[in-house]
């Protein structure tokens, strides 16, 4: 077992050596520009890109002509939302999204608000899922786009995308989903799910950083986005810029591996995750955040009441995890995702996200359980809130001096 143990696979994943192997020739021998249509080097690169396009398309049940390569999911989100807003201006200016979306979606929407967009930020239920009735009620004749993520990056909940897509389509709007955390982990099918646009990223599924894709539906309906990057007219004019051939090859390989190994891998990871979760919730006053049924197989977000997340992570220094506490930021504001579930600030400060991955072993999970339990108990010994709780004092009855 290698120390420190990496359990932050929602932030990024290590690259699979098989992906690296596929990429290497495209840095040195096969270095051609995929847009060089008049010589061998260009053809080899173009062929590799075409093959990767098929590999990506196959993972999400799409046609390869519907895949636009980008620099990652953030760019894909920007291209989709800004591109739809510009392209469908005539039809309307209303976009619906949810408060738990990634900043790449939320901040793009905020940007468009300055340009005249009307944006509805749907709240979520206590379990992190969008309320379909609220979505339906928010739809207007001006609604051009509904953008709801597939799986959440902090708590792992999976939104009812099929139902959301149906509501969007019923009212004549397009449905876009940021599926960065879901693609490659659970079955995602753009046709079965009714997805019109989908953002994905390579580095969340054991591929390289700096490359991703946007799926744009070509049939029923034919969706168009205006380019946000002007230049040579690559990617059917939707995304100019010389293609990152090695990165794209890596993305393709990562998609292929994820597709072939998804079933066994999801079963293995959810079993390990459940073990971790069951052991850690044996600790008093620990709570799992988000819906536990509709959830990605490799994520568990747990709040340990009366201990502070960043302090906790310091006690778990040989364990790489992530906390909902944002004590290091100037704002001192804890996770907006956890707060939107209705969690009090103190519980949000007390949360830890465990993200398992392809290379996580049972031994590492056992180690994580041991280290976390020890750290929580250590910090509770130090915690005045824990002492008060044990004495039966209601913390809400105390007048705290907010600072």
């Amino acid at each position: 077992m290698n120390i420190p143990v990496y359990l932050d696979n929602n932030a990024t994943t290590p690259m699979d050596p098989r992906v690296l192997e596929a990429m290497i020739p495209y840095f040195t021998q096969k270095f051609g520009n995929a847009a060089s249509r008049n010589h061998h080097f260009g053809w080899v690169a173009e062929e590799a890109v075409d093959y990767a396009r098929e590999q990506v398309a196959k993972l999400i049940g799409a046609n390869e002509k519907e895949i636009i390569f980008t620099s990652g999911a953030t760019e894909s989100d920007n291209l989709a939302i800004k591109g739809i807003f510009e392209m469908y201006k005539e039809k309307g200016n209303h976009i619906i999204t949810a408060v738990t979306e990634h900043k790449a979606v939320l901040d793009t929407c905020k940007h468009l608000e300055k340009l005249g967009a009307k944006v509805t930020y749907l709240p979520v239920k206590e379990d992190g899922l969008v309320d379909l009735e609220q979505l339906e009620a928010a739809m207007t004749p001006e609604t051009i786009l509904v953008s709801i993520m597939y799986g959440n990056n902090e708590i792992g909940v999976i939104q009812p995308v099929k139902e959301i897509a149906a509501i969007a389509h019923k009212h004549g709007a397009l449905f876009m989903t940021d599926a960065t955390q879901a693609v490659g982990k659970i079955p995602v099918d753009v046709n079965a799910d009714g997805i019109d646009l989908l953002a994905l990223s390579a580095h969340k599924m054991y591929g390289p950083k700096g490359v991703g894709a946007l799926y744009v539906r070509r049939k029923g309906p034919r969706v168009k986005v205006t380019a946000q990057m002007d230049g040579g007219g690559h990617e059917r004019g939707m995304r100019s810029g010389t293609l990152n051939v090695p990165g794209i090859v890596g993305l393709g390989k990562a998609c292929e591996l994820a597709r072939l190994e998804m079933d066994s891998e999801a079963a293995r990871l959810s079993q390990l995750r459940d073990k971790l979760q069951a052991s850690l919730t044996e600790l008093e006053e620990s709570y799992v955040n988000g819906n536990v049924e509709h959830r990605l197989p490799h994520v568990a977000n747990i709040s340990f009441k009366y201990v502070e997340g960043e302090g906790l992570m310091m006690a778990m220094k040989d364990l790489a995890v992530s906390s909902g506490s944002a004590c290091t930021s100037a704002s001192l504001e804890p996770s907006y995702v956890l707060k939107s579930l209705g969690l009090s600030d103190d519980l949000a400060h007390s949360s830890i996200r465990f993200g398992l991955g392809r290379f996580t072993t049972e031994e590492e999970v056992d180690y994580a359980i041991e280290v976390t339990k020890k750290a929580v108990n250590h910090l509770r010994e130090l915690s005045p809130l824990w002492e008060m709780f044990k004495e039966g004092i209601d913390l809400n009855s105390i007048e705290w001096a907010e600072h």
Partner: protein, 137 residues
């Protein structure tokens, strides 16, 4: 963010963790911060008849720097008179622990906790609370 060795030392081996009898007239208790902000410190002092602090204990809910700041404060308090203790400044803590700018609020909280504990002791013993000269918040 990398923590300084001193923060790690106080965090790993916190000094004077514990609880004194808050009902005793010889004990002053300061409870500052708020759970919503991710920091709560409770600092207690035991004071003898000559107004000298003979013991100090803390418990802190917060990040490593908050725990280290309060641990350090208890070390500094022991043996000081309550008047001397009043002069401990948050910037002394920042310097000793090499806290980065984003963690200065942890030292501020420790200073507030010291002053709150002293004033609790003063009020219990019929002395007027001392107005703190600067307001941090």
């Amino acid at each position: 963010m990398a923590y300084s060795d001193k923060v790690i030392d106080h965090y790993t081996n916190p000094r004077n963790v514990g609880t004194l009898d808050k009902a005793s007239n010889q004990v002053g208790t300061g409870l500052v911060g708020a759970p919503e902000c991710g920091d709560v410190m409770r600092l207690q002092i035991q004071v003898d008849d000559n107004n000298v602090i003979t013991d100090a204990k803390f418990k802190t809910f917060g990040c490593g720097s908050a725990i280290a700041s309060s641990s350090l404060a208890t070390e500094w308090l022991k043996g000081k008179s309550i008047d001397e203790a009043m002069t401990i400044d948050n910037m002394d803590i920042v310097e000793e622990l090499a806290l980065p700018p984003v963690k200065i609020h942890c030292s501020v909280l420790a200073e507030d906790a010291i002053k709150a504990a002293i004033n609790d002791y003063r009020v219990k013993n019929g002395l007027a609370p001392i107005e703190t000269e600067k307001s941090h918040h």
